[in-house]
């Protein structure tokens, strides 16, 4: 064969693989509002930056007449590329080829790119669109999943791992995304569950649609399995690209620096917070009045919305924000919000991202459901994560910092590096109402007019304790600051903390309460 002919032959071979499961299958995929595996990768990476590997890998099935079948690339695309110039490794399951089912070769392609990502210390992005294990390949499929889960765990905390659910992801397959750092879902397209509607119906007699059981919205709002929710694949890809700009390539690096920007001036910080501690406001307005360009990239927006987490930039550097949200459930801590915040704190710590905590919460959510759901062990996760974190940790107390919640929200006692408080801060063992009822119980009960006495005692307690100065007098707060100084002081604190280095006792690993 002449060189020219062999080049033409190569092109023909590649084109055949690129056709995946064929035109008819691609049309079906498009009819569901879905792009193909390669289109998805190309939509995420920088133009012209993608290189695909293992195109000619063949499947390993021999039973059930599989030997005669050709499966293009064995139903998965792997490769490397860049996002805004940052290198990434990617894989995308191709639903048009045998439903994206996972056989031995398919799994080996995925684990190959996973090994590559870990070795090169760059982020891994996995696009899931698969009917699950390839039944014809039996226990080899299970082995494949196991090899993937093992690598997810090995890479955890070393390189960022991102999962994108763009189709079904059922049974054991869901555990790979669950082991990764961030999960992206798209309305009407993503489906995740352990046991599908058909089995649930046959065993339980419960009739539920795939969407209602494990659709995008369910995982974004109810289960907390998903971190980012989008209405289209296009929106999802933009979210992924934005996330990549906020995180480092690996755990030995810092996230990329951007040119510093001032917040947009229209956000006047002192006008956001009502002076009555019982009235709500949106804590995200405070975050946006502090960050560069007033930008805030929120994570898990719909799940446990009583706590807000996400990334922003301060003087061009990535910072993680953890903030109570008075607008939802009064900003209380509960099982879900503790779980959500704790994981994020650990993420920031693993990837060298300083944490700013904005505090305004009345305590833990009362209720039998909370106690029985294990609010003790879930709540303990926040204490554990903050205590364990060695990245710069800065707290600003906006209004209420009561009781156990005060300790949990990155207090001095958990080794916060800086604790600032606004003059509106109330640092106390509980709110004035509850405290007065206990401390002055006798006086209130014995008074001629108990209600008038109660109000008088609440006011007395408020005057004496509902302020930042008691805690400041003990050194638990470093500085009481004016609200409009917040950004300036935070920038200074971050600058001072740049080379923070704290020794910790040697151990194999800790035992966080999960």
């Amino acid at each position: 064969m002449s060189l020219k002919r062999s080049i033409l032959d190569l092109r023909k071979r590649k084109d055949e693989v690129r056709l995946g499961g064929g035109e008819e299958a691609i049309e079906k995929q498009a009819a569901m509002g879905k792009l193909t595996a390669r289109e998805r990768i190309l939509a995420i990476v920088d133009e012209g930056s993608f290189h695909e590997y293992d195109m000619f890998v063949e499947h390993a099935g021999t039973d059930f007449d599989m030997g005669n079948k050709v499966l293009a690339g064995d139903g998965v695309v792997i490769g490397t590329g860049t996002i805004y110039g940052s290198p990434v490794c990617l894989f995308a399951q191709d639903f048009t080829v045998a439903g994206g089912s996972l056989g031995l070769s398919h799994a080996r392609k995925i684990t190959k790119i996973m090994d590559h990502a870990l070795k090169m210390r760059v982020p891994l992005i996995g696009i899931n669109d698969s009917g699950g294990a390839r039944i014809q390949e039996g226990v080899n499929s299970l082995a494949g999943y196991g090899e993937i889960f093992f690598r997810n765990t090995l890479s955890s905390g070393v390189i960022p791992q991102i999962s994108v659910i763009l189709g079904p992801c059922a049974g054991g397959a869901v555990y790979s995304p669950a082991l990764t750092d961030f999960v992206f879902v798209v309305e009407n397209i993503s489906k995740m569950f352990i046991t599908g509607p058909a089995v649930i119906k046959s065993v339980l007699g419960e009739d539920i649609s795939m969407e209602a059981l494990g659709g995008a919205r369910v995982h974004a709002e109810i289960t907390g399995n998903a971190h980012f929710y989008a209405l289209s694949e296009k929106e999802c890809f933009e979210q992924i690209k934005t996330l990549i700009t906020y995180i480092p390539w690996n755990n030995t690096q810092k996230a990329k620096s951007f040119p510093p920007q001032e917040p947009k001036t229209k956000l006047k910080i002192e006008n956001i917070v009502p002076s009555d501690a019982r009235l709500p406001y949106d804590i995200r307005d405070i975050i946006k009045s502090i960050t560069d360009s007033s930008e805030f990239f929120e994570i898990m927006e719909l799940f446990a919305a009583n706590i807000v987490i996400g990334f922003g930039r301060m003087n061009g550097e990535t910072v993680g924000f953890v903030a109570n949200q008075p607008m939802v459930l009064a900003g209380v801590l509960d099982c879900d919000s503790s779980d959500k915040a704790a994981r994020f704190i650990r993420y920031c710590n693993a990837f060298n991202i300083p944490i700013i905590t904005l505090e305004d919460m009345p305590g833990y959510l009362p209720g039998v459901d909370q106690e029985h759901a294990g609010v003790i062990r879930h709540g303990a996760k926040i204490l554990y994560s903050y205590s364990e974190a060695t990245v710069p940790k800065i707290t600003v107390i906006i209004r209420k910092a009561y009781g156990g919640g005060y300790i949990a929200m990155n207090s001095r006692h958990l080794r916060a590096d800086f604790v600032f408080a606004w003059p509106t801060a109330e640092i106390a063992v509980m709110g004035p109402e509850g405290a007065a009822n206990i401390v002055f119980r006798k006086e209130i009960a014995e008074a001629a007019n108990p209600e008038a006495m109660r109000q008088q005692k609440i006011q007395e307690y408020k005057d004496k304790f509902a302020n930042p100065y008691v805690a400041a007098s003990k050194g638990y707060i470093d500085e009481v600051i004016e609200p409009q100084e917040t950004r300036k002081i935070l920038l200074h604190a971050l600058q001072i903390s740049t080379h923070k280095d704290v020794p910790a006792p040697a151990k194999k690993h800790g035992l966080p309460p999960f």
Binding site: R278, P280, L329, A330, P362, P366, D369, G431
Partner: protein, 107 residues
């Protein structure tokens, strides 16, 4: 927030204006457990009912065989008691927390 009814959370006697989440609104209200109701702890199929109404049995005696998750589960009397009412029959498929049998303690 302005156009919907105001919602409140009470923590330590203080009432805070806020909004509820879907999960909070759907939370399960706790009920005192009634030990005289033998409920299914797992969904499944009734393979056999081993008792009759009016019968008195000791704690630990088998009363129902419930097939669930490919296993025959032996459902036993929790304490010495009398069978008051049977709500199931052989072959019936039942969901979780279904009241299968009502009993009353016998001293």
């Amino acid at each position: 927030m302005a156009d919907q009814e105001k919602q409140y959370i009470i923590v330590h006697s203080a009432k805070y204006e806020t909004t509820y989440t879907k999960k909070y609104l759907n939370r399960k209200v706790w009920e005192e457990p009634n030990f005289n109701l033998i409920k299914s702890y797992i969904p499944g199929t009734i393979i056999d009912v081993l008792v009759k109404e009016g019968q008195v049995l000791n704690g630990g005696e088998s009363i129902i065989v419930l097939e669930a998750m490919k296993m025959y589960n032996d459902v036993q009397m929790p304490f010495k008691g009398k069978i008051l009412k049977i709500h199931i029959e052989k072959g019936q498929k039942i969901p979780k927390n279904f009241v299968m049998i009502e009993i009353e303690p016998v001293v």
